[in-house]
Symmetry: C2
Subunit: 536 residues, 2 copies
């Protein structure tokens, strides 16, 4: 490895002057600019490399002693890192919520780093602070549809905030529940509030045994992380079975009442607008009624589904979302912004004051420093990416993308439903669906309800998913679901997310064909066929 | 504003094909590549624009309805956003911890977004997961200096972790205290642990009145945010005055004992390796002794000072850091990585299991998904930037940068000390110092100890800092400090952070001259001179 000279001159060069346009890093950049898909196809290998092999190239625990030339290092990055990354741009990578990005984010990423603002305070962000507030205002209006006077009063108010940017949905959910907790257990007479006195003291003061959060079993895992973090305890995460993949308002109300009858207090109901596993949307309006009746906070986790509001055709799926006290959105999902663009929104611009804090050197009272009400401290200017996307796509552009994804998911669902060897498990509400391989003879066969047959089918799904992933041509994820079809017993299913606008129906057909090919060569498949003969 | 056509064809173009090399965005990119400092000098305006003026251009609360051409939007970004951003590359922007970056981060930012990996799980990150673990291992070794066998066993172990990447020091501090809380209040007999049963139940089980965190008053504001978030309560944030800017181990031990004598339990002592305001380093080794004696967690917030470990000459300033149970580092500070590269490290690779969590579709047991033990969920691949920096600078390169910064701070301190009209308030341990304007006649004058004179000096500092910031040529921040010189009464001071390698001593001289010029035209200065005559 070529070692660079350790000298002030070298250091200054690294800070001030790029290498020539023919340097390795410049070549990488040019290729990314010309055609990012082609760059990835060329450099990311598709064959299966065991993780342990890759780990070997990242195993030295010592900080390198000597400097290295940038070009030599760029070569190492290509051969060690890029080569073994995941090609999230691939139209056949449909297993997770990360997909291709519009190309303009590449130059914008460079601008973002070139500016290197810190959004925690005005002094290190200046125009980025009003820009971030504007983006929050736009998203707030998309959800809550308040009038111009409302936004004139609150969009740039130093004493209010319509929400907060954060790294992702997890921090957004945590922030929302933190605000909910501090609002419910606020100062009261001699009691100085949970933020100052702590949770144990707050529960004593208010006479609550425990504080609970209620959601369906399809709630994101960040919710139970949040109840742990907030000191509430994971056992107070009340989850309700949902064989239909949607939370039943009746059952929610019943459980809430039972919980409170035992001396506890329900802190929040969390409705999900686009579950991570199947894309289902809880009955938000009815859940808002339940929250109102119980007298608790209503949070909606719309990390995935929030962008559906851009579509005139589909936004009614989220009816009731405008009644959410708080809301989680991830622009790095269906808004096609790079990773790291989460947002929490609050219906009431006063809400986030429940977690407001100050310091001597920044976040002084009366300042407009965003950091005074965010869970995170220093943050980059990712809001710029959302701002640019909102302008370059416009509502109409996002509408087209959303509508197209949902149509594609419906077409894929039909393809699966029509296929004799596959079984659709959950139909798409948004652009997610789940399904599994199921030998044709089992369709409508009583055997299909047998636990041991389903155990074999589970093994089949796991094996096929793994082999397909390792083959590297395409990627579908898997999960375990309880469904009404199978007496609410858990079954293992393939899970797809059809967000990439470049995915074609032909790609989807190829994915099914590949899965069937893999399956038919597995012993599990053969074992299932033996059942066919036995039952004949 | 030119509106783009709403069509699938347009959308596909935005995903697949960049505009030509002569497009506005391409021009911006080229200028950034050629010379980022020049780009910023040319586009960021330096004159004072009231924030309210900037807010007006970011006030529309409606999502734009129609798409916009990328070039038209790029123009808008330049004129509305870049123009009113902060030039963090400027050698005279020495008020905060954000400074110029080495140029290679610009093309790497593009690569990062081009790859758009999600580090929460292997399936969307692959090689980025081992890379991140390696970087954590390197930083762990830099601090804890364990041997090869240790890293062979733990660096890539699915059941252990040496730390976690996160957006910044705030999340790192929160993660450390979360782990500390869950470890101290772990399952015990029938008690299932604070993570499951919650904090109130845990305190009852263990018979603790309250749980406390102890640090000096110079502790970062994220600590009180963390005690609020974790349900401990801000009143249990025990802070000790530190007129010498360093936490006294004797006073820490005394306070810890008093606290515990009242039926409480001290959860953690937080030592600071580089305070945000003055860059001082607490006596870490002695504080480790206190933590050991009290039987509590010892956390070190080395967000700023951690990088000092790269310097052979200065690393002994942090003696005792290797005894920290957990540690916060920010690579976006003295490691010159773009915003968003925080890390928490754990001495014991089992520590983070106290917050481990699983889900059906990811983070399955036995997986190496990083998300199983991180506070955040989805995260981008910022570890690549740290990895590249560690290789391109090497330890020796960082050493040069650190040594240079400290020397520059010492030179500036001398410059201030020698100047008749300035008073050095805190000398640099690392590259931070504080000072104020103080008319020459007041040097060694009894008047200087008078409260009303100090109140005038405070006003002077505030006014000068504001005018200098608004003039836009240079930026120095301010804070309020208690110092032994002034009977531990708070005084307002200028605060500088000398991290930018491009800052020269001439720049520093200019900054002092500008401050004096501003001051001498202020009525406050004149009011002070009246005191001179009165006392004469």
């Amino acid at each position: 490895m070529a070692k660079a000279e350790v000298s002030l001159a070298h250091l200054f060069r690294v800070f001030t002057k790029p290498e020539g346009t023919d340097s390795k890093l410049a070549q990488i950049e040019q290729h990314l600019s010309d055609n990012v898909s082609d760059f990835l196809s060329q450099h990311v290998v598709t064959q299966a490399i065991p993780l342990e092999e890759i780990e070997k190239t990242f195993s030295d625990h010592r900080v390198p002693e000597h400097p290295e030339f940038v070009s030599a290092h760029a070569d190492a990055l290509l051969n060690k890192l890029v080569k073994h990354s995941v090609n999230t741009y691939s139209p056949t990578f449909i297993g997770h919520m990360t997909s291709a990005l519009p190309y303009f984010h590449l130059p914008l990423a460079k601008l973002l780093v070139g500016l290197n603002q810190n959004l925690v305070k005005i002094e290190t962000s200046k125009a980025f602070t009003p820009l971030e507030r504007q983006v929050l205002g736009m998203m707030h209006q998309l959800v809550y549809q308040r009038d111009g006077d409302f936004y004139d009063a609150y969009l740039h108010s130093a004493n209010h905030s319509l929400g907060a940017f954060c790294s992702g949905g997890t921090i957004a959910n945590m922030t929302a529940l933190w605000v909910a907790r501090n609002t419910m257990l606020k100062a009261d007479g001699v009691f100085k509030g949970v933020a100052r006195e702590g949770l144990a003291s707050a529960l004593r003061h208010y006479g609550y045994g425990n504080l609970g959060i209620l959601s369906s079993k399809r709630g994101h895992y960040s919710l139970s992380k949040a109840v742990d973090l907030l000191g509430i305890g994971r056992e107070q995460m009340l989850t309700i079975d949902c064989p239909t993949q949607r939370l039943s308002p009746e059952r929610a109300l019943k459980l809430a009442k039972e919980y409170e009858a035992n001396g506890n207090k329900l802190l929040a109901i969390v409705g999900i607008a686009g579950t991570t596993e199947t894309g289902h949307i809880d009955p938000l309006d009815e859940l808002a009624d339940v929250a109102q009746e119980v007298g608790c906070h209503f949070h909606v986790d719309a990390a995935w589904g929030g962008a559906t509001l851009f579509s005139e055709k589909h936004r009614s799926l989220l009816n009731g979302i405008e009644r959410a006290d708080s809301l989680t959105l991830d622009a790095h999902k269906q808004m096609y912004v790079p990773m790291g663009a989460g947002m929490v929104l609050f219906k009431d611009p006063n809400s986030s004051n429940a977690v407001r804090h100050h310091a001597q050197y920044i976040l002084r009272e009366g300042s407009k420093d965003l950091g005074a009400t965010t869970l995170e401290g220093s943050r980059n200017g990712m809001a710029m990416m959302v701002y640019a996307s909102l302008h370059i796509f416009g509502r109409e552009g996002y509408e087209l993308l959303i509508d197209m994804s949902i149509e594609k998911a419906k077409a894929f669902a039909k393809m699966i439903d029509d296929h004799p060897q596959f079984e659709l498990i959950t139909s798409p509400t948004l652009s997610l669906l789940t399904y599994r391989l199921r030998p044709a003879f089992l369709a409508n066969h009583p055997l299909l309800k047998h636990a041991d047959v389903n155990a074999l089918l589970d093994q089949l799904t796991v094996a096929v998913q793994k082999q397909q992933r390792e083959a590297g041509k395409s990627f579908v994820s898997r999960t375990r679901l309880h469904t009404s079809t199978y007496h609410n017993d858990p079954i293992t299913v393939f899970r797809v997310v059809l967000a990439n606008p470049l995915t074609t129906e032909e790609d989807l057909q190829d994915i099914l064909n590949e899965q069937l090919d893999i399956a038919q060569n597995l012993d599990i498949w053969k074992a299932l066929l033996v059942q066919d003969k036995a039952s004949a």
